[in-house]
Symmetry: C2
Subunit: 259 residues, 2 copies
């Protein structure tokens, strides 16, 4: 028989990010999530932006117990955001949490940015492991930014996902516009935008060339059902993200490759 | 007016991988592709397996010109497979190649492995940049493996893609079974399989714990239209891969999140 006090148990919420365990974004998210459940933090010990869905296989991983606030268990991890999720489930929680939240990222993960994002890779890994998972990002790279305007929206989304779960094999990519007056929340598709890459070419003191990746974000997709439209118009965008990469519509077009 | 000798020009084929520029897999692929066009190689200077779609943003990137065979231009790159593609297009070719091939990876990139794969991230980045792109992987981790049994199939796939291109916003994930008698080529969907992760926990000489990621690949998806079925039955699997991560079918199910 199931114990009757199960309903009274607080849900377990795993919090991670890609900007590192001391970034203001994750500290804010930890505070917010503490009102919804028992928070456990496993986050990178250093910035891991742009890590995509990387995992660490050629070097060993380390976990360090950290005490910042005695209300929650916190570990810093030497690996990527995906490593953090895998280690949290296997070596710290020893079970799946009821919810995984990643972020709040300092900067946008809308549109094509989702593929490069360490924040979202943690959420995607959560969905692969059947954990209801959400990535939160604010469109402001500054560490001095104000996260408060979106608090009630983030809490509402997290509470609904805790209560209802998510469609099978999906997680949520939530992006937040920079404004004090958020108009609301729109569920969207990812815009077909891209980065026009450029490289800043320099020479080191030994006269050897090196390169910094830069570039410009270009959005030719004017669809009103896109995340870019929602964000430009003052709404929080919520894109359901899947980890089945198959282009199902293309299979029938490629039969000429069969032998 | 277009120059009339355009048709006689050899196509430019960019070759990269994630096992590093000296891995036997890429050396074999370079030889193969040389029969189809003018090969330019830009590949990581060290193994980059499991790097997913990572890009390098917190450290500068380096390129080094390498002469192995005077027939082709080769550069090693200090970054990830995605960095290699971006740098090749922007700083070496100064244009899009006619074809991008990545691999031959030493080990499987079928099913869920595609999301962790550096080999496939290079091909996906190619498709983001509108370059017809293919990732090749052989299901054998050994560096002493024999790549020859699949030569004619790899050449046929590459030649067809060079001639016909690929459906918009897709690239190909080609996996090759370990057998001397390949039965043929099947165009498939990615199987819904997963890794049951485990960590090998050890102590260093200073008595501090560290972890190695291990685990077991679990496939409960018995579909005969999957890559796993094709590979188990002696066929090369070809999965068209897309970079739009939107779970379009889930959008209507999530309208309760809107405010």
């Amino acid at each position: 028989m199931r114990p009757t006090n199960n309903k009274k148990k607080k849900p377990v919420i795993l919090v991670t990010n890609d900007d590192g365990i001391m970034a203001p974004g994750i500290r804010h998210l930890i505070k917010l999530m503490s009102s919804l459940g028992e928070v456990v933090v496993v986050a990178p010990d250093k910035p891991q932006s742009g890590m995509g869905h990387a995992i660490t296989i050629t070097t060993p991983l380390r976990l360090e117990h950290i005490v910042i606030n005695e209300k929650q268990v916190e570990y810093s991890c030497s690996g990527t955001p995906v490593d953090c999720v895998k280690l949290a489930v296997n070596k710290i929680l020893h079970k799946k949490p009821d919810l995984l939240v990643s972020g709040i990222n300092h900067g946008s993960n809308s549109s094509i940015n989702v593929i490069y994002s360490g924040t979202m890779s943690a959420a995607v890994e959560g969905s692969i492991e059947n954990i209801p998972s959400i990535g939160f990002s604010l469109l402001d790279y500054s560490f001095d930014t104000d996260f408060h305007p979106s608090d009630k929206f983030m809490l509402a989304i997290a509470a609904k996902v805790l209560k209802n779960g998510l469609p099978e094999r999906t997680c949520l990519n939530v992006n937040i516009p920079i404004t004090k007056k958020i108009k609301g929340v729109k569920v969207c598709r990812q815009a077909h935008a891209y980065w026009a890459d450029e490289y800043d070419e320099r020479k080191d003191p030994h006269h050897n060339k090196y390169y910094w990746l830069t570039g410009e974000f270009v959005n030719d997709d004017k669809g009103k059902d896109t995340d870019e439209w929602a964000l430009k118009n003052g709404y929080i965008s919520v894109v359901p993200v899947q980890y089945d990469f198959t282009a199902h519509h293309a299979i029938s077009k490629l039969k000429n490759l069969e032998e």
